[in-house]
């Protein structure tokens, strides 16, 4: 049987007396498009921080491609195949757009410079940033920064991409643009966890959605099931 790409079992995380996650269990299949929703403070970012390694879970297990990763540092998880983008873009602002991508090329994929640059340009063209390759990251617009976040994550050649609110604060057409990029990446076989407040985008994108509230999963299902669920409506959708 084909084991899930990512297996999260009974993961908990406390900050002092505050329980951010309690007993969260979740499987992500290879190549799946997965949506994670929930109100502010429900633990979405904590969960993906535990997956990507920015935080360590207090209890439970996180297995990626059948091996336990919850003890690994973030950089080791990136090398295993988990990449992420940040909610508030964190570009390497003193580097050019191209150089931003060369960091994961050097540290994850171990490519030689010429090869790495060719690969990076390929990613930039696919994402619509090729024209900005030589521009300093600090001079990019908001939507370009979001794209750079995704492009840099892609340069690490992940099998799981975590997109943390890549569309927050973007206008309608820009949302479609980013959504299109995520669909393209998924078509290449990359599983994607999308965290998003723009319901329309999550519903269009996801094959399966989980809703978190106060550190627990309150509902799991297809987008239509989620929207129809009374608990989700109460906790999140404001019905």
């Amino acid at each position: 049987m084909d084991a899930p790409l990512l297996q999260i079992k009974q993961v908990s995380k406390h900050f002092g007396g505050f329980t951010a996650l309690s007993g969260v269990s979740l499987d992500i299949a290879r190549g799946e498009r997965f949506g994670l929703i929930g109100p502010n403070g429900s633990g979405k970012t904590t969960l993906i921080n535990c997956i990507s390694g920015s935080l360590r879970n207090d209890a439970g297990s996180i297995r990626f491609e059948n091996s336990e990763i919850s003890g690994l540092a973030a950089y080791q998880r990136t090398r295993r195949g988990i990449a992420r983008s940040f909610q508030i873009p964190r570009p390497f602002h003193t580097m050019s757009v191209l150089e931003n991508l060369l960091v994961p090329s050097a540290y994850v994929v171990h490519l030689r410079e010429a090869e790495a640059e060719a690969k990076a340009m390929e990613i930039l063209s696919s994402i619509g940033l090729a024209g900005k390759a030589g521009v300093l990251a600090s001079q990019l617009s908001q939507v370009e920064l979001r794209k750079l976040e995704l492009a840099r994550a892609m340069a690490a050649r992940p099998r799981l991409l975590i997109s943390d609110e890549a569309m927050a604060g973007l206008a309608g057409a820009e949302v479609d643009e980013v959504l299109e990029i995520l669909f393209d990446l998924n078509a290449k076989g990359i599983a994607i966890i999308m965290i998003e407040h723009i319901m329309q985008a999550v519903m269009r994108f996801s094959q399966r959605v989980v809703c978190l509230d106060a550190g627990r999963i309150i509902c799991e299902g297809t987008p239509t099931e989620i929207v129809g669920n009374p608990e989700v409506q109460k906790a999140y959708l404001g019905a």
């Binding site: 990507s52 390694g53 920015s54 540092a73 973030a74 950089y75 990136t78 090398r79 990449a83 992420r84 940040f86 964190r90 570009p91 390497f92 602002h93 003193t94 580097m95 150089e99 060369l102 960091v103 994961p104 050097a106 540290y107 994850v108 840099r152 994550a153 340069a155 690490a156």
Partner: protein, 311 residues
């Protein structure tokens, strides 16, 4: 290749100068300028590339000096051994400072490095074996052939150390380590998530930087024939080691070299022609001017200028 030839030429020139009939005072002053080249280059590996501002250069420098004195007093160890010991102790302190970066960033890291400086000074003030607060007079050993004065020999030694330090800094800057350190400076979280082993790289930068600072401090007691804690652990070392790369430019290995040669020479001239106190003022004024008017230093000004003229 070009760099290797240039570096070899610098060493040969230093050798030739030391064997020529040039005025002794030149070597006395140039030794200090070269010390600053090593210190600011070392500072820049951590402060410029990785963005961790170290005010405690004096701690590494002074510790290097005292390691040399202890070895000299106890075993009459030769200069080379003293320098290696200074580098080793500097590297060890660097490792400790590197561990601190796990928890401390930005201004908190900078404050902690100042604290280390004061701890070191207090420790040496209370250590009788190395002379305590009054210090220790040292008798230089016989100078080695082909040199006819100890100062000239030390000048060549420091020129060699400077070339080694700059070569290491350059090697780090142009390669994958430099790219990782720059990523850390821009965003440590994003660097880690881009596969950069941030702690390992920071430890590496701290150890290399510390070792070079310690090595630079080791020949100082022989240069002065004297050692005492207040000047060995002076905050001025740290301020200069920070100001010189800032003025020269922190992004490129040549920046700290330019800054140190320029500022170090000005300081020496001011010391002779005006007074020793004024030279600290010169550093301060220049630093403020550059931070406000040219935050990327002389290298940055030069780049701006070449970009404009190429248009």
């Amino acid at each position: 290749m070009k760099y290797a030839i240039g570096a070899a030429l610098v060493v040969i020139a230093a050798f030739a100068a030391a064997l020529s009939g040039m005025n002794e005072y030149f070597f006395y002053a140039a030794y200090i300028v070269l010390t600053f080249v090593v210190l600011s280059t070392a500072w820049n590996i951590l402060g410029g590339y990785a963005g961790y501002v170290n005010f405690g250069t004096g701690a590494f420098f002074g510790l290097g000096s005292y390691s040399a004195v202890v070895l000299f007093k106890a075993l009459e160890a030769p200069l080379l051994v003293q320098i290696l010991a200074g580098a080793g102790i500097g590297a060890a302190l660097g490792f400790g400072v590197g561990i601190m970066t796990l928890r401390l960033r930005g201004i908190f890291f900078a404050i902690a490095t100042v604290a280390i400086l004061f701890i070191m000074e207090t420790f040496m003030v209370n250590w009788r074996y190395v002379g305590g607060a009054t210090g220790l007079q040292l008798l230089r050993p016989e100078v080695m052939a082909p040199f006819d004065s100890y100062t000239r020999m030390l000048f060549v030694v420091m020129a060699l150390l400077a070339v080694i330090a700059v070569s290491i800094a350059r090697y780090i800057q142009v390669g994958w380590i430099g790219r990782g350190l720059r990523a850390i400076r821009d965003s440590e979280e994003a660097a880690e998530c881009s596969g950069v082993p941030t702690l390992k790289l920071k430890l590496f930068a701290c150890v290399v930087s510390g070792a070079l600072m310690g090595a630079a401090g080791a020949p100082m007691p022989m240069y002065l024939s004297f050692i005492e804690p207040a000047s060995s652990f002076s905050l001025n070392w740290g301020v200069s080691a920070l100001a010189m790369p800032m003025i020269g430019g922190t992004g490129h290995w040549i920046g700290p070299v330019i800054g140190a040669l320029l500022l170090g020479s000005i300081q020496q001239i001011v010391t002779v022609t005006i007074s020793n106190e004024i030279n600290v003022l010169v550093v301060g004024v220049l630093l403020v001017l550059f931070v406000v008017l040219a935050p990327d230093g002389i290298v940055g000004l030069f780049r701006k200028w070449t970009r404009r003229s190429s248009r």
